[in-house]
């Protein structure tokens, strides 16, 4: 019924006015209803009485057949403004005398039984005229049944009374309401003051001892309570703030320390990288520069054999052959070193690799170079993503190792297989060759680390280091299992997700 923001003053006015209006409306309606009923009853009674009088007066006229005198009596009804017409019927039902207040009034052709009938805005009433022993005739009176006009008038009066009453009620309620609303408004303004200024020390003034007085007391009590709590809370908050500040200070110090540390790490890394690069360029240039004298040594030793072989004895020729072989070995060593150091500089170019085909072709190429007959068992290998050239080197190194170390067996067997796991592909190369002592397994993948003497198995000691470097650059792992004289198994993995390709 009321908006949420309607003031209490207005709400009270609404209540008072609505109550008054409803009460008046109901009273008015009841009165109107009662009056309408009474009005009809009164009208009927009045008309009946008039009909009785008329009948009595008209008795002799009927008895002595004197319509004129009956007419005279009827004409008396002119004094009644609500009578439209009247008539007297003889005992045989014929119209004896009639009176019409206005021209054009009609009368029923035949008299009806005693009673009244309301038809439109008119009421017609029949009344028998009878002496104690005979019926003389019937009186008929037709009158205006002005109930609608009366009702309209009533509604008008009720409306006027309502307007007057409501105005009066509004004025009276205005006066009395202030007694109720003023203390409430005082509390409201006090509350607003508290909310706006946060001045919990202020108090509402108590002017009455009724419920509103109780409200004022409760309000003031609450203010006291809030005041106390606010103080406690404020001191707590201040304390917490202090603690937070201290924490923040510590945090800041920690962060500064962290930053410093990170800076230091970055600087160190840069230094390290620079040193590494220097080292690589150094080893590259050294290797490169070493090749020229080696080539010269090899060239001149072969020239020595060709040009002066006949002049030399067998011992000299053997020694020159040793010099040439060692120079060749030195050359290949330098090549490997160059390849290894180049690996650090080259970027990985990943592509889809058919590892099975790669292993197969690599093995076939190695067999052509070497003429060994090996039982080569190639399982199905999952495809992987990686640098084709680098993985070719991986297979070359692993397979050549396997061939090399199983070459002294009567029936060498090399097994290659692979399996796809959740995040990576795992490949292995197994041989039944010389194997290695498990306690040296960690040294297998270092540069120039050799577990066998060069007289047993030739090699530069760079191959597995290269494999290790390539696989780790692809984000994979390398490891080996083996036992002395019982063969070795080399595993490496390639992740399914392509790594960023950096060491």
């Amino acid at each position: 019924m009321f908006g949420h923001h309607t003031s209490i003053h207005r709400k009270l006015s609404y209540v008072v006015l609505a109550t008054a209006a409803f009460a008046l409306l109901i009273t008015g309606a009841a009165m109107a209803f009662y009056d309408m009923r009474t009005f009809q009853q009164t009208l009927v009674d009045d008309l009946t009485a008039q009909a009785d009088i008329l009948g009595l007066a008209a008795e002799p006229a009927l008895e002595f057949q004197d319509p004129e005198s009956a007419q005279d009596y009827l004409r008396l009804l002119e004094a009644k403004p609500n009578v439209v017409g009247a008539a007297i019927y003889a005992a045989n039902g014929s119209l004896f005398a009639s009176f019409a207040a206005h021209a054009g009034a009609s009368f029923p052709e035949l008299p009806d039984l005693d009673g009244y009938r309301i038809d439109g805005g008119e009421i017609g009433l029949f009344k028998r005229i009878a002496t104690h022993h005979e019926i003389l005739g019937t009186v008929y009176i037709k009158a205006r049944y002005g109930i609608v006009e009366r009702l309209r008038g009533y509604v008008g009066i009720i409306g006027a009374v309502m307007v007057l009453s409501l105005v009066t009620a509004a004025l009276v309620s205005l006066r009395f309401q202030q007694r109720i609303t003023r203390p409430i408004l005082a509390i409201t303004s006090a509350a607003r003051h508290v909310v706006e200024t946060r001045d919990f020390a202020s108090r509402a003034e108590k002017t009455t001892d009724d419920e509103i007085g109780v409200l004022v007391d409760a309000f003031n009590g609450m203010l006291t309570e809030i005041d106390g709590r606010t103080r406690t809370l404020e001191s707590e908050i201040a304390e917490r703030k202090r603690a937070e500040e201290a924490l923040r200070e510590g945090d800041n110090r920690l962060r500064a320390l962290n930053t410093e540390l990170e800076e230091r790490v970055t600087a160190r890394t840069a230094q390290l990288e620079a040193a590494n690069k220097d080292l690589e360029s150094f080893s590259y240039s050294v290797s490169h520069d070493l090749r020229a004298p080696i080539r010269a040594i090899r060239g001149f030793s072969s020239l020595l054999i060709e040009d002066h072989g006949a002049a030399l004895d067998a011992e000299a020729r053997r020694k020159i052959g040793v010099v040439s072989a060692e120079a060749t070995r030195m050359g290949s060593l330098i090549d490997d070193l160059l390849a290894f150091s180049r690996l650090g500089r080259r970027a990985i170019e990943p592509s889809e690799l058919d590892m099975q085909q790669l292993a197969q072709t690599t093995y076939e190429r190695l067999c052509q170079a070497d003429n060994t007959r090996v039982d080569f068992r190639l399982g199905s290998l999952p495809r992987a993503t990686g640098d084709r050239g680098l993985f070719e080197q991986v297979w070359v190194n692993l397979l050549s190792n396997a061939i090399k170390f199983s070459s002294k067996k009567e029936s060498p067997v090399i097994e290659v297989g692979g399996i796809s796991q959740e995040h990576e592909h795992v490949y292995f190369v197994r041989d039944n060759g010389a194997g290695f002592d498990a306690k040296y397994r960690d040294r297998l993948f270092g540069v120039f680390q050799r577990l066998h003497s060069d007289s047993d198995f030739s090699g530069t000691g760079v191959g597995l280091a290269l494999v290790h470097r390539i696989v780790t650059r692809h984000g994979g792992r390398v490891w080996a299992d083996g036992e002395l004289g019982r063969g070795a198994t080399f595993h490496f993995t390639v992740p399914k997700e392509s790594p960023d390709g950096r060491v």
């Binding site: 007066a57 002799p60 006229a61 008895e63 002595f64 057949q65 005198s69 022993h133």
Partner: protein
């Protein structure tokens, strides 16, 4: 409408009108006699009814002194048919708990027991002689002769057109100590009063 020859309709209208007039005349002539008989009978019965009804509007003196069971007596002089009608009408009627009796009387009687005396038009010549002994006695005298009020009658029937009316002499009524209701006087054709 088809245009008719100009002469013929008018001639036929005239002829029809003549026929109608003749027919009406014959009808009047034939019904006139019958109506006279019927009217005479009706006039008689109306008068009979009035005779009896007059009593309701008239107060007789000393009614309370009458012995119990005394009938209300209406005397009829010289109108046998009317007396019969009246007797038939009042057969089982009473007036103030008094039985109504109708009696034909002769001029030689004293009319002592009568309450109402009706003198037919046949006695027109003797009216004065007949009424004078009744004068001053509480007997309602009713006549049907022109000028009868002058002869001392209290109520006299007149006939205007087909309506039976009556005239009243208040003087005569007063002389007889009869009180005539004003309601009766209201319907009278005329009321004779000397003062």
């Amino acid at each position: 409408m088809n245009p008719a020859p100009p002469d013929r309709p008018q001639r036929s209208l005239v002829r029809r009108a003549v026929w109608l007039v003749m027919l009406a005349a014959v009808a009047c002539a034939t019904t006139g006699g019958a109506q006279t008989n019927a009217a005479r009978a009706s006039e008689r019965s109306v008068k009979a009814a009035y005779l009896y009804k007059f009593a309701e509007y008239v107060d007789w003196p000393d009614v309370s002194l009458l012995p119990a069971g005394q009938p209300f007596t209406i005397g009829v002089l010289g109108a046998a048919a009317l007396a019969d009608d009246l007797a038939r009408m009042t057969e089982d009627r009473t007036l103030d708990d008094r039985v109504i009796t109708v009696r034909r009387v002769t001029p030689s009687e004293t009319f002592d027991d009568l309450d109402v005396l009706f003198i037919a038009d046949g006695e027109r010549g003797n009216l004065r002689a007949l009424l004078s002994p009744v004068k001053g006695r509480p007997i309602l005298t009713v006549t049907e002769s022109e000028g009868a009020l002058a002869d001392g009658s209290i109520i006299n029937f007149t006939v205007s057109g087909e309506r039976v009316r009556f005239e009243v002499s208040l003087d005569a009524a007063q002389a007889s100590r009869l009180k005539l209701s004003s309601r009766l006087l209201a319907v009278a054709a005329s009321v004779l009063q000397s003062q």
